[in-house]
């Protein structure tokens, strides 16, 4: 089927511009534990998994979302070259929810060269580089156990996942700070729509490290308490680590329940062109990304049942994001941030919150906005402070990164029929 025919056949009545891709499999591992089941349990029961910072060698007043068990989860011997905390989390996440089996089935079905691997991260394996500097030999070299070049370069994660899965299609690591593992979905859609590949493994992994803990601290963006997204008394972010994956292809879902089929139906991308670490004050970049996602999906704003906000609990982001939502969406579009549960997983936030969006669609449940008591009036009309049962058709997920890099994704269930 030509690209044009494929697009129009699937767009159908929605007049979408982009190709709807079935999410054949997905998984996420976060501070709530390994796998989507534990993540959904935390979301549904509105339970925070943040803890007092016990990661940094010197005190940094912060709460963090730390993944349990990483310290003892060394990579299998055949992956020794890629050994580092970040790739451990990638392996841990890959092996949850039957994801790696689903990926391998797709690779066998389509052929390894017809499956892309597109991974997002912000710091990748830089924790290993930091360790190298902390343990420099007298000659100014990294110690022998860290003399593994792949771990100290930006493509460490993408390269590891490609080797773990055995694909030979396009493989790239996207590194656009907090929008990284949302942009991977858009990139995959273009590759598939153009017929370069038939399927894509997308996702992201980011792990706590010195540069983000001390870096965000130096920007005075960290809250000394568990973060309170969209709260009137919010005072900063809580960092987290996470890993997650999704398998995308245009084929109908393998599940028996066709009505439950989940799809990526739209994406929007933009740049603020304003400042490296503060959002454009009128939210024009964020708005542009969100409206482009709606346009690409062929949806109007009132079709969106739930927005999973970027909602970092920084003073600026939440103010700007709440205003954009208020002026573009009816109050029937509910909104919450789930960073009060997992922390802000930076380069992995996109995939984690995509997974939460998919789970919300599956369960017909609007996640509550954990961590907050007093809602900022700017967000009040839309904010779901507590979870709400709601038939769900379409969910929008926002991701706004440093450098003003914005990406919004739309996921739908059963073509949006509630």
């Amino acid at each position: 089927m030509s690209q044009h025919n494929r697009t129009t056949a699937i767009a159908g009545a929605r007049h979408a511009r982009t190709l709807a891709l079935t999410v054949q499999a997905f998984t996420a591992t976060t501070a709530a534990g390994s796998g989507s089941g534990r993540l959904w349990d935390a979301v549904f029961n509105a339970r925070s998994h943040l803890r007092v910072n016990d990661f940094t060698p010197t005190p940094v007043a912060a709460w963090i979302g730390r993944v349990p068990g990483l310290e003892t989860a060394a990579l299998p011997e055949q992956f020794a070259e890629w050994e580092c905390r970040n790739n451990r989390l990638a392996w841990l996440a890959l092996n949850e929810d039957g994801f790696i089996d689903a990926a391998r089935t797709a690779i066998e079905h389509f052929g390894s060269r017809r499956v892309a691997v597109i991974m997002g991260t912000s710091t990748g394996s830089v924790g290993a580089t930091e360790e190298g500097y902390a343990r420099l030999t007298g000659a100014g070299s990294f110690p022998r156990d860290l003399l593994r070049p792949i771990v100290h370069t930006a493509h460490s994660l993408g390269d590891f996942v490609q080797h773990a899965l055995g694909t030979s299609g396009p493989c790239v690591t996207v590194n656009t700070a907090c929008s990284s593992s949302a942009k991977v979905f858009a990139q995959a859609e273009r590759l598939i729509r153009m017929g370069v590949v038939d399927a894509a493994v997308v996702g992201g992994v980011d792990t706590l490290c010195g540069s983000v803990m001390y870096g965000f601290n130096s920007l005075q963006l960290l809250s000394p308490e568990p973060c309170r997204p969209f709260a009137a008394d919010r005072n900063g972010i809580s960092l987290g680590e996470a890993g997650g994956f999704a398998l995308l292809s245009p084929a109908p879902a393998a599940t028996e329940d066709k009505e439950a089929a989940l799809s990526l139906t739209g994406w929007g991308e933009s740049s603020d062109a304003y400042h490296m670490s503060s959002p454009q004050p009128d939210g024009l970049g964020a708005e542009r990304a969100m409206l482009q996602a709606l346009f690409n999906a062929g949806l109007s704003a009132n079709a969106i049942d739930y927005i999973n906000g970027h909602g970092t609990a920084s003073l600026k982001n939440d103010e700007v994001e709440a205003a954009v939502v208020a002026r573009n969406f009816p109050v029937t579009t509910r909104m919450s941030s789930t960073k009060g549960i997992t922390g802000h997983a930076l380069g992995a936030a996109g995939i984690v919150e995509a997974v939460i969006s998919l789970l919300a669609l599956q369960h017909d449940w609007i996640p509550g906005n954990v961590g907050t008591s007093i809602v900022d009036p700017l967000a009040a009309a839309h904010l779901a402070l507590r979870g709400e049962a709601n038939p769900m058709g379409h969910v929008l997920s926002n991701n706004f990164g440093f450098g003003g890099n914005n990406c919004a994704l739309i996921f739908s269930k059963n073509g949006g029929v509630r």
Binding site: T56, T58, R113, S122, V126, T129, G132, Y133, L136, G140, S141, F142, L146, L147, P149, I150, V151, H152, T153, A154, H155, G158, D159, Q162, S168, P170, C171, V172, T173, V174, N175, T176, A177, K183, Q187, R190, R193, M194, V196, G210, S211, Y214, G215, N217, S218, L219, E269, S270, S271, D272, A273, Y274, H275, M276, S277, R288, F402, G403, G404, N405
Partner: protein
């Protein structure tokens, strides 16, 4: 897939623009004797220029040159930036600080350490609000960046800006990473030809029998970029400069490669 090159920008200390690079590649001129340490950073505000990281001034220099060569307003173009290693100097500095006194990490150095810092500065300097990204693919960075640019241009029906850049390694990272000097290249890639078009690129996939080393450059320009992580992409520029239509294989991971054929545009 077929795309068209609308504009080209190049910078290395001894190849300060595409005109010089073409002349050196063709053998019409010798490599300049003098070498600037880094581009001037003209796009940045005066007070930002001195402190801006090397990757930022390098990427912005070639990006601006390619847009000027294409006579296209940068604000019209989505930006696809790609670098093998990102800013190795900022990484060395941050890692050194973290190892000694982490509380002294500077906020500006931190936001300069993100891989998308260069594209961030570009969009801020030009006011470009279209999509932007920052990629890496190790030794395949140029090939994967070119693929993403071609796919974006063809699927979204618009020209895009591709910028690839790498700088020299310093400090402890030199024990695991090899890269010398500064080298940046920018291409404006379009889905259709028009009066701006410099050449067409036909991109296809090939299977490679075993691990294949990239084609070695055969022009005097090689000495200007020797040892840089992006030096292996120089043959692509040589094809364009010479109108050389022989297919160029850019190795990808796992026994695959991109085949690139450069031709003059047929109107």
């Amino acid at each position: 897939m077929r795309v068209f090159v609308q504009g080209i920008g190049v910078w290395a200390p001894k190849l300060p623009d595409w005109q010089t690079a073409q002349a050196v590649i063709r053998g019409d001129a010798a490599l300049p004797e003098m070498a600037a340490k880094r581009p001037t950073g003209a796009l940045l505000a005066a007070n930002e220029r001195r402190r801006a990281p090397d990757t930022v001034v390098l990427a912005l220099e070639v990006a601006a040159a390619a847009c000027a060569d294409a006579a296209l307003d940068p604000t019209l173009l989505p930006s696809i930036f790609a670098s093998t290693h990102g800013d190795l100097s900022v990484c060395d500095s941050m890692s050194t600080t973290l190892a000694a006194s982490p509380e002294l990490v500077s906020p500006i150095k931190f936001h300069n350490s993100v891989h998308n810092a260069a594209v961030g500065y570009w969009t801020i300097a030009t006011g470009a609000v279209e999509a932007s990204t920052a990629l890496s693919a190790s030794n395949e960075t140029f090939a994967e960046g070119l693929l993403e640019a071609a796919v974006y241009a063809l699927s979204e029906h618009r020209p895009v800006l591709l910028v690839v850049y790498d700088i020299q390694v310093v400090g402890g990272l030199a024990s695991v990473t090899k890269s010398d000097g500064l080298f940046g290249v920018a291409l404006v890639i379009a889905p259709e030809a028009d009066q701006r078009t410099k050449c067409q690129l036909d991109i296809d996939w090939v299977d490679l029998p075993a691990s294949v080393a990239p084609e070695i450059s055969c022009s005097p320009a090689e000495a200007a970029v020797s040892g840089n992580a992006l030096a292996p992409m120089l043959p692509a520029l040589e094809r364009i400069a010479r109108g050389d239509t022989r297919p160029l294989v850019l190795p990808l991971a796992r026994h695959r490669g991109l085949s690139l054929v450069v031709e003059e545009t047929t109107p």
